[in-house]
């Protein structure tokens, strides 16, 4: 429970810590929660669901406030705490870190995220889900580019639009059970013609958040006008909520909705892969390149999840973790490059690696990780995902694999245009120690997970298998 409540406490406290101490305290707070989750992870029994709150029975509104973590939950908790730590660390030398409101929002965000990953009750899940939106929204507003009202409104309304349908879905689902408790929902006897609608509601929310083509239009402008921390939070962890939600909340429904939705969503995912990649090929705004790259990456993950097979889910989970890492790394690099050149236009950049060699090196490492070269987690993830898609439908697999090629083109292009060639600026600051630490941590973790994906797999295997077995049972029951 401390994992959920600590960030709330930190968030509230941070609002009152004056600027001078803000940057240190935020780093400290983030480190504390990271350590807490690491310790938990260390002693965690993957095959037992650990309840923080466990109310049984029926309550007003059917809300039980139940919270629990299984293997998947603790992994996501760890990921969110890690990302928050990385965000706090990468902001350490920036002006934002000395603003109480910034730090406060950061930890409130963490509170919401941790809640989403631990919620074991439909309504509670929705509440935490929306709760994450507010801090990041305010952060984007206060610390983002000046004239971003329109983008922000689009972002907010779009995500709200999706998530309200998820709420409807949860409510409809809960109408067939005494409470919204996850276990109860899992065994709810929903008439099969409604399952598809409920599934659709969830899908809409997740599709907007991920974002899946064609629900992505809020994303590139938001990413390119957001402050670095906001972009990182959005892409590294907020959209993971949607992927996590797809796994945790859509699998129990998949037994009769899948035959209707599987193919369309996979097709949308594949289109997203190609669409994002093709746009990224020609985009000159560095942040937008990475934003479209993100769409491309996530299309693959979403398609993989929709296959709902064990291997594909494992691939998706590994790739989720990996994508968080690369998102932090890439957007940090993009921000640094943008800062140094004073523009995010790739055509006005050049030769940064020469004048800032440490940046050049770590940026290259990050790009390679993003290209999912072997030995990194991305390779394992993409390998499993493309394999799963390929086995589902060979043509899709081949299209999905174009991401390997196109990804190389736009990533290397971004690197080459920004860092290679004759330097267009001189006398710039190289990486600050905290930035280097972030990129190094990202690299180390990506390589570690690339060599030892069994760690993640053994952690989440019991919970995923449990879910899939349940679906199998239900399917048999229906037959």
């Amino acid at each position: 429970m401390e994992l959920i409540l600590l960030p709330l406490l930190f968030g509230i406290v941070s609002f009152f810590i004056p600027g001078r101490w803000g940057r240190i305290s935020s780093l400290l707070f983030a480190a504390i929660s990271l350590v807490a989750v690491t310790v938990k992870l260390f002693y965690f029994q993957p095959d037992v669901k650990e309840y923080f709150v466990n109310n049984t029975g029926t309550y007003v509104l059917g809300m039980t406030f139940n919270m629990a973590i299984d293997g998947l939950g603790i992994l996501m908790l760890g990921l969110s705490n890690l990302v928050i730590f990385l965000v706090a660390l990468s902001n350490f030398n920036r002006e934002e870190a000395s603003k109480p409101s910034f730090n406060g929002l950061l930890f409130l965000m963490q509170f919401g995220l941790n809640g989403v990953f631990a919620a074991e009750d439909g309504i509670l899940f929705y509440m935490f889900w929306e709760l994450t939106l507010i801090p990041v929204f305010l952060m984007l507003y206060w610390y983002g580019a000046k004239e971003n009202h329109k983008n922000l409104l689009t972002f907010f309304l779009y995500t709200l639009f999706g998530s309200l349908f998820m709420l409807l879905a949860i409510l409809a689902w809960g109408a067939y059970t005494p409470s919204y408790d996850y276990n109860k929902l899992m065994y709810a006897a929903v008439p099969s013609q409604y399952v598809c609608w409920i599934f659709t509601g969830f899908l809409l929310a997740f599709a907007v958040k991920i974002p899946l083509f064609p629900f992505h239009t809020w994303q590139p402008p938001t990413y390119s006008t957001a402050p670095m921390a906001g972009t990182m939070l959005l892409s590294a962890i907020m959209l993971k909520m949607a992927l996590f939600g797809m796994i945790k909340w859509m699998i129990p429904l998949s037994y009769s909705a899948l035959k209707f939705w599987q193919l369309p969503v996979i097709i949308l995912g594949i289109i997203g892969i190609l669409y994002g990649a093709v746009i990224a090929l020609r985009e000159n705004n560095m942040r937008k390149v990475f934003a479209f790259a993100s769409i491309s990456h996530l299309g693959l993950i979403a398609a993989g999840i929709m296959i709902f097979s064990f291997d594909a889910l494992m691939g998706s989970i590994i790739q989720m973790v990996n994508h968080s890492l690369i998102a932090v790394g890439l957007f940090l690099c993009a921000d640094i490059a943008t800062n140094r050149f004073g523009t995010s236009d790739l055509q006005q950049m050049g030769g940064l690696a020469k004048v800032a060699p440490r940046f050049g090196f770590w940026f290259a490492v990050t790009v390679l990780i993003a290209l999912s070269v072997p030995l990194t987690a991305g390779f394992i993830g993409e390998f499993l995902l493309i394999k799963a898609v390929f086995e589902y439908q060979a043509v899709f697999g081949i299209l999905a694999a174009l991401t390997l090629v196109l990804g190389a083109v736009y990533m290397i292009r971004a690197y080459q245009m920004s860092s290679m060639g004759a330097p267009k600026i001189t006398n710039v600051a190289d990486l600050h120690w905290n930035e280097m630490l972030v990129l190094a941590l990202v690299a180390v973790l990506a390589v570690f997970l690339g060599l030892y994906p069994n760690g993640i797999i053994s952690l989440v295997k019991p919970s995923i298998q449990h879910m899939l077995e349940n679906v199998q049972d239900t399917t048999n029951l229906i037959k």
Binding site: K150, T154, Y158, P214, H216, T217, W218, P220, Y275, V278, I279, A280, L281, R282, E283, F310, D311, M314, G350, G351, A353, K354, A364, L368, V373, P374, L375, I380, F383, L384, I386, K387, F390, E391, G397, I398, A401, L402, L404, V405, A408, V409, I412, R413, Q416, S419, M420, G421, A422, P423, L451, Y452, P453, N454, I457
Partner: protein, 638 residues
């Protein structure tokens, strides 16, 4: 010391060398960095020699398991057999020499330690590639060499003049290779779902046990594997990156883009011989692609004026020859040509490097000439290399090439004729290169001439050693023509590799072999004589770009191949990218969303018009509303 220990030491040496240089190289003296880099590779070479002495049966060394599922698992293991050891020998052996050469060549470069880091890491990746016991590990090395190649091609990325083009060349190489990699990935998927394992030994055993496979599956797998090979080994349609890759420093071209990395594709196909043998259609495709590549590349080399570009096209052409051998199922022969080619092409590249070094980074042969006086060692070694590649009798290239041609003649005399054209052109452009560089009068500026000098011993020693091997390398696989004992030693040796022993090839008969050899020798000598006549006696020089006539222009502009790709692939994709962004994203989806927003605003304004401020209108609305209520109520009420 067990095999596994040796293999681990062998792999760790270049890795450690690379890491040491990478982490501390900035603070180490240059000589030390270079010596360290060279030393670890030499030690690795010694390790391989130990393996070479002991290898007998294929030995699989299991390291760990990366991913374990019920349906399949991904393991890291190494396979020590004749093929991998032989490749390792080439890699570490040539690698040592090129490292040594680099110590001199890169002396003035500020990224000295970085260069050795990359080189060592490249050797590491290449060793992983050839020693890997399954396709998964092979893929690790495969990507690893690609990355190192990228880094090394773009080594001078910040050069004020050539920086951009260097980095673009690196980008091109990486992307082209990536296309091939996608093929390899698919091969992996298909192999996994067919066999549940990726181990070479297991797959070959399953196949020899007669596991039935759908012919389309085999076709798919082999085509994907070959796609990967075309990427790495610069075959049509993915060859265009290799000439551009000459932007890298010359030792890199020698090591990566001539001797080792580009032969990874050949290695991959040879390694997968058990699969290719089951797919005759793929073999035919391989054969024709090889012939086409060999022919076109040789043609393109005819009128290149950059000393390295000539060698680059020659590499593509020679790789084509190897692919021909693969297509004929003569895997050992291909490896034989890989070996001899590694010797003479490394020699030629290093020789050209020595020339470039002496000429202060001038690469245009139109500004050279008469260098044999000032650079005697380079000249003589280069001559040996040229003779070897042109198939001059009794030198290494003569034997390996002849063997391929012999096999081809056996199968298809028409194709033999075609490939002879390529061989002829090879001799022509090589002698042209040699004579224009070393004979005649110097065509550069006077000030350059005064500074032209022979290279230091670190550079000439590798040249000498390589020239010895280039001359005598043919002994490795002498045709049965001369001896019966010890003939085809290399082929026999390589038969120990998985799957190889199942492949039986009839060697051409005595008289055919002799006849073919005679033709080849005649060609080579004839061209030599013609070239001497043309370039030395008549003193012809290379024309300037404007003076080229039709076919020369085609050759010089590489058949406009890059332009074709630009026009057919790059431009459409970029157009697509632009249109997607501009039309679909901005005009379509985004304005759709903002249109919705505008629509709500418009609707709001329209509604506000109803609110006109007159009480009577409000009252009328109330009455209308009540009537509407009644109407709706009665609509289908009772």
């Amino acid at each position: 010391m067990g095999f596994s220990t040796i293999v681990y030491i062998l792999l760790l040496l270049p890795l450690l060398g690379g890491l040491t240089n990478g982490l501390f190289g900035k603070h180490l003296p240059k000589q030390f960095s270079g010596a360290l880099g060279t030393g670890v590779i030499f030690s690795a070479f010694l390790c391989v020699l130990m393996l070479f002495n002991h290898v007998n049966e294929p030995v699989q060394i299991d390291l760990c398991n990366i991913l374990r599922f019920d349906s399949f698992s991904l393991e890291i293991n190494f396979l020590i057999d004749q093929l991998s050891v032989w490749m390792s020998l080439i890699i570490t052996g040539i690698g040592t020499l090129i490292h040594l050469f680099s110590m001199g060549y890169m002396k003035e470069d500020e990224g000295y330690y970085k260069f050795f880091t990359y080189l060592n890491l490249f050797i590491f990746a290449m060793l992983i590639l050839v020693l890997g016991g399954n396709y998964f590990v092979l893929f690790f090395g495969w990507e690893g060499v690609g990355i190192c190649s990228f880094l090394l091609i773009g080594f001078h990325y910040s050069d004020p003049v050539k920086g951009i083009s260097n980095s673009l060349a690196a980008r091109k190489a990486f992307v082209m290779n990536r296309i091939g990699d996608a093929g390899l990935i698919f091969a992996l998927f298909m192999l996994l779902s067919t066999f549940g394992t990726l181990n070479f030994v297991d797959i070959s055993e399953r196949l020899s046990e007669g596991v039935s496979m759908h012919h389309l599956t085999v076709l798919g797998i082999t085509l994907c594997l070959f796609l990967a090979a075309t990427g790495k080994s610069a075959q049509i349609p993915l060859f265009t990156w290799l000439p551009d890759a000459m932007a890298g420093p010359t030792p890199v071209s020698a090591l990566i883009h001539a001797a080792t990395m580009v032969t990874a594709g050949i290695y991959l196909v040879a390694r997968s011989n058990f699969l290719f043998e089951l797919a005759p259609l793929t073999q035919d495709i391989v054969l024709y692609i090889g012939i086409a590549t060999s022919l076109f590349a040789a043609f393109m080399a005819l009128r290149q004026n950059d000393i390295k570009k000539v060698l680059a096209y020659s590499t593509v052409s020679q790789l084509g020859l190897m692919v021909v051998a693969l297509g004929l199922g003569a895997y050992t022969v291909a490896i034989f040509h890989v070996t001899t080619h590694a010797f003479f092409k490394a020699l030629l590249f290093l020789g050209s490097g020595s020339v470039i070094h002496g000429m202060h980074h001038e690469q245009d042969i139109r500004k050279m000439g008469g260098l044999k006086k000032v650079m005697p060692i380079t000249h003589w070694t280069f001559l040996i290399g040229t003779l070897a590649i042109s198939g001059f009798p009794l030198l290494s290239g003569f034997y390996s090439k002849d063997e391929i041609i012999g096999h081809l003649f056996d199968q298809n005399p028409v194709l033999y004729g075609v490939i002879m054209v390529s061989v002829l052109m090879t001799a022509i452009y090589m002698f042209r290169l040699y004579f224009l560089t070393f004979h005649g009068t110097f065509r550069g500026t006077q000030s350059t001439w005064e500074h032209v000098h022979e290279s230091p011993w670190t550079m000439t020693l590798p040249l000498v050693i390589l020239s010895v091997f280039s001359a005598l390398g043919g002994l490795l696989n002498l045709p049965g023509l001369f001896f019966h004992e010890g003939a085809h030693w290399l082929s026999g040796y390589l038969h120990g590799a998985p799957g190889m022993h199942n492949i039986v090839h009839e060697t051409p008969n005595f008289s055919t072999t002799l006849g073919l050899m005679a033709v080849a020798s005649a060609l080579s000598i004839g061209v030599l004589a013609w070239a001497y006549q043309n370039y030395v006696r008549r003193g012809s020089v290379a024309k300037s770009d404007e003076a080229l006539n039709g076919w020369e222009k085609l050759s010089n502009r590489k058949l406009y191949w890059d332009e074709w790709y630009d026009w057919m692939v790059v431009k459409p994709i970029e157009w697509l990218g632009f249109q997607t962004n501009h039309t679909v994203e901005e005009r379509g989806l985004k304005s759709g969303i903002s249109g919705l927003g505008m629509l709500t605003g418009k609707a709001g304004n329209a509604l506000r018009k109803l609110q006109n401020g007159y009480v009577s209108s409000y009252l009328s609305w109330m009455v209308i509303g009540m009537i509407l209520l009644v109407v709706f109520y009665l609509l289908n009420g009772n």
